[in-house]
């Protein structure tokens, strides 16, 4: 078999078809008509301006998380700890907002400081994961998972302890911030915030440009392909790894800040909304190519928002959207694996 563009496309289409087949089977076993389910998911995602804007609201933190992960994947790191980094971003944002909410300062200034605080929180937590990897020899997957647990515990402690509502510790989170401190909402929408969309778009363009068009991006790729060779060629491995963690932390922190300032307007126990793990799936699905991240993240966000219709209309569990996302990623990766194996076999054959 030859490694042609057509072959690659064929494998990808095959993988998607297989994923759909499995998803259909699951839907069928759940007693649902697959096409009805897809129809309602589609209607739930693009059926009206309101739901479409909900998709965009969900797209922003997902794309930010994916953007950060593309950088760590470029140096060959699995930054599982991104969930914790999003959480710390949200915690730092909330902290700044709580400190400044009664200051009388211009809301724009408070929001800017809060977002920057979120960036700081995400970056520090990512650097901690990076330091564990670089200086402690702790694999970033295990270190990241551990730090995720610590971040969740810290978040819950704050919500149920020092930052609780007066007399009440509630799963619904801290007291909401005043509407004047919400990220400005677009006219005609109840929750779409243009500023955060701009941040996400600028972010993914910056990541694309950095990876594909800069010397720094080239160095990251070199470390990712073969750290030893890169080191021999004079590229500092650990510095670039730490830099990639820091950049991912910036994006994770931004995602956390968006969750607090534009989505929930308070700190809630599951403030990361699983966007870190979902971002990992998007990055895997696009094969770490920044150019595809935005549309695929949009598709995943649409699936998430659209799937709310499943329990409402078809009385199905909305986690079926997760099944579809998971099988899609699994089969695309499997497709890559099978193709690579076949290529290897073909090369060996004289």
């Amino acid at each position: 078999m030859r490694d042609t563009r057509g072959n690659r496309l064929l494998f990808q289409i095959g993988a998607i078809l297989f994923a759909l087949l499995i998803a259909n089977l699951v839907l069928f076993l759940a007693g649902a008509q697959p096409f009805a389910a897809y129809k309602y998911i589609a209607l739930g995602a693009v059926g009206s301006w309101d739901v479409a804007s909900n998709v965009l609201v969900s797209w922003v933190p997902l794309l930010l998380a994916t953007s950060g992960l593309l950088v760590t994947f470029t140096v060959g790191l699995w930054n599982i700890g991104i969930e914790g980094q999003i959480t710390l971003g949200a915690i730092f944002t909330t902290w700044a907002m709580r400190l400044l909410q009664d200051s009388g300062w211009n809301p724009g200034i408070i929001l800017t400081i809060a977002v920057l605080a979120g960036v700081l929180g995400g970056t520090l937590w990512a650097l901690l994961a990076g330091a564990l990897r670089t200086f402690g020899g702790v694999n970033e997957i295990f270190g990241g998972l551990g730090l995720n647990f610590v971040a969740t515990a810290l978040n819950i402690w704050l919500i149920f302890g020092p930052w609780k509502r007066p007399g009440v510790a509630s799963m619904s989170g801290t007291l909401p911030f005043d509407r004047s401190l919400w990220m400005p909402i677009a006219a005609g929408s109840s929750r779409l915030t243009p500023a955060t969309i701009a941040i996400a778009i600028v972010g993914i363009i910056a990541v694309y440009t950095m990876i594909e068009g800069t010397y720094f991006g080239l160095k990251l790729k070199a470390v990712g392909r073969n750290p030893r060779s890169a080191y021999i060629l004079g590229i500092s491995t650990w510095q670039n790894m730490m830099a990639s963690f820091a950049i991912c932390g910036v994006f994770a922190g931004l995602a956390g800040a968006v969750q607090v300032t534009a989505v929930y307007h308070r700190l809630i126990p599951s403030i990361s909304s699983g966007y870190g793990y979902l971002g990992l799936m998007v990055a895997l699905l696009v094969g770490y190519r920044a150019s595809l991240a935005a549309p695929v993240a949009l598709f995943f966000a649409a699936l998430n928002v659209g799937s709310i219709q499943l329990p409402i209309v078809l009385k199905l569990d909305s986690s079926l959207a997760g099944v579809l996302q998971g099988t899609l990623v699994l089969f695309v990766i499997l497709g890559h694996g099978v193709r690579a194996r076949l290529l290897k076999k073909t090369k060996r054959t004289p």
């Binding site: 739930g44 059926g47 009206s48 309101d50 739901v51 909900n54 969900s58 969740t152 819950i156 149920f160 302890g161 609780k164 007399g167 009440v168 510790a169 509630s170 799963m171 619904s172 989170g173 909401p176 109840s190 929750r191 989505v263 929930y264 308070r266 809630i268 126990p269 599951s270 909304s273 699983g274 966007y275 998430n304 928002v305 709310i308 219709q309 329990p311 409402i312 209309v313 909305s318």
Partner: protein, 400 residues
């Protein structure tokens, strides 16, 4: 001068136009064939709070042919990450709902946001108090009604059942999160237990142990809340032989059944849902439950015929028959009770119906400070916003 007059006129017009634009009116009558949206915090079939709400709306559907229900359950950020409750409410509106019921106090922030963003939709915030003029958090919203049943009475009945049954004199209360509502319900159970202990059993109140352990939410969320199964086990393993559940799910009953099957006779009292007894035959002493049907029916009728008015209602049981599903907002279904305990429960319900009030001084807060002086009766506000547990109760009063 003319310019100033013009400016003044423009200002007046702008103010009038502005006030008209921002004044929120009652939504127009929906007419028949109303679609009701129901947002539930837990699964619709949880045998607890959410199911009681779900069946409350089913009652409306049965009484008002032509009405429809669209619902979304598990509306909490752990089960539906990335969504907000107001967004879920909008999904129901997209399916035709003109009246949306947010059936948990935990949805307060989002329900208020939804009501403000959608003045054309009727909103019920169950167990909230925002539309209570005399309440602490009064926020008039023309399209919102708050509904709650006087569960305090039925928790007192549960307390009586527990006190009449315990052999060790140790009653556990499996509490959800700590807030005004949960404090006053736990305190009510204690008041009922103490009343039976002193007046029916003629025992020393100092020898009654009543301990509250809070898990952190209305149901178990692994990794976030304490595990209610574990908490129930801890009670049963440390000499408590009756556990009154204050959470939305039935772990206490399941654990009581398990321990009893292993030869250690213990009991539990579930909560919220009239048929929750089905799960713990032989170990459930009874269930204090909400009957949302009649109140939801009234609200739906007022949305249909245009008589809706924002208000707060805290509905009484029907003392003629607390289990009358057409008239009583709360009830108590008796379970496995001894003859003596069953008679005591009936007697107590009779006394309550005749005006017995346990919220009368002398009563102290848990920290020893005076809540009610001798003979002083608590106001509705003092009960609703109970700031601490009562003296004689063990457990946290406020979240630390």
């Amino acid at each position: 001068m003319r310019n100033i007059s013009k400016l003044f006129l423009l200002l007046v017009i702008a103010l009038v136009a502005g006030s008209v634009a921002f004044a929120q009116n009652v939504p127009p009558a929906t007419g028949p064939n109303l679609t009701i949206g129901l947002v539930m915090v837990g699964p619709y079939n949880d045998h607890g709070w959410s199911q009681a709400n779900y069946e409350g709306v089913q009652y409306v559907l049965a009484k008002l042919p032509g009405t429809k229900l669209v619902y979304i359950d598990k509306a909490n950020s752990a089960d539906r990450p990335g969504t907000t409750v107001s967004q879920l409410g909008e999904s129901l509106v997209a399916q035709g709902a003109k009246l949306v019921i947010f059936s948990s106090d935990d949805m307060t922030d989002e329900a208020i946001r939804f009501a403000q963003d959608h003045p054309e939709i009727f909103v019920i915030l169950t167990s909230g108090s925002q539309q209570w003029k005399e309440g602490k958090n009064y926020l008039p919203l023309p399209n919102m009604i708050n509904i709650m049943g006087k569960m305090e009475y039925m928790k007192m009945v549960a307390g009586v059942a527990a006190a009449m049954t315990t052999k060790t004199g140790k009653i556990g209360y499996l509490g959800p999160l700590i807030n005004d509502e949960t404090r006053r319900l736990a305190a009510s159970a204690y008041l009922g237990a103490r009343y039976a202990w002193v007046n029916y059993l003629k025992k020393d109140p100092a020898k009654l142990t009543f301990k509250v352990t809070w898990i952190g939410f209305w149901f178990n969320i692994p990794g976030v809340t304490s595990d209610p199964t574990q908490v129930a086990d801890d009670f049963f393993n440390s000499g408590f032989d009756v556990v009154i559940s204050g959470i939305d799910t039935t772990e206490a009953v399941a654990e009581a059944a398990k321990y009893t099957a292993q030869g250690k006779q213990v009991w539990a009292i579930p909560y919220d849902y009239a048929k929750a007894l089905d799960e713990g035959k032989g170990v459930s002493l009874g269930v204090p439950y909400f009957n949302w049907g009649p109140a939801y029916l009234n609200a739906a009728k007022s949305a249909i015929n245009g008589t809706w008015k924002n208000h707060f209602e805290w509905n009484d049981p029907d003392w003629k028959n607390i289990n009358n599903l057409d008239t009583s907002a709360v009830g108590f279904n008796k379970g496995t009770l001894s003859k003596e305990a069953s008679a005591a429960v009936d007697k107590f319900i009779g006394e309550l119906g005749k005006g017995l009030n346990l919220w009368v001084g002398p009563l102290n807060y848990q920290d020893g400070s005076v809540f009610l002086k001798k003979g002083e009766k608590a106001t509705d506000q003092q009960i609703w916003y109970l700031p601490q547990l009562l003296q004689g109760m063990e457990g946290q009063s406020v979240s630390r």
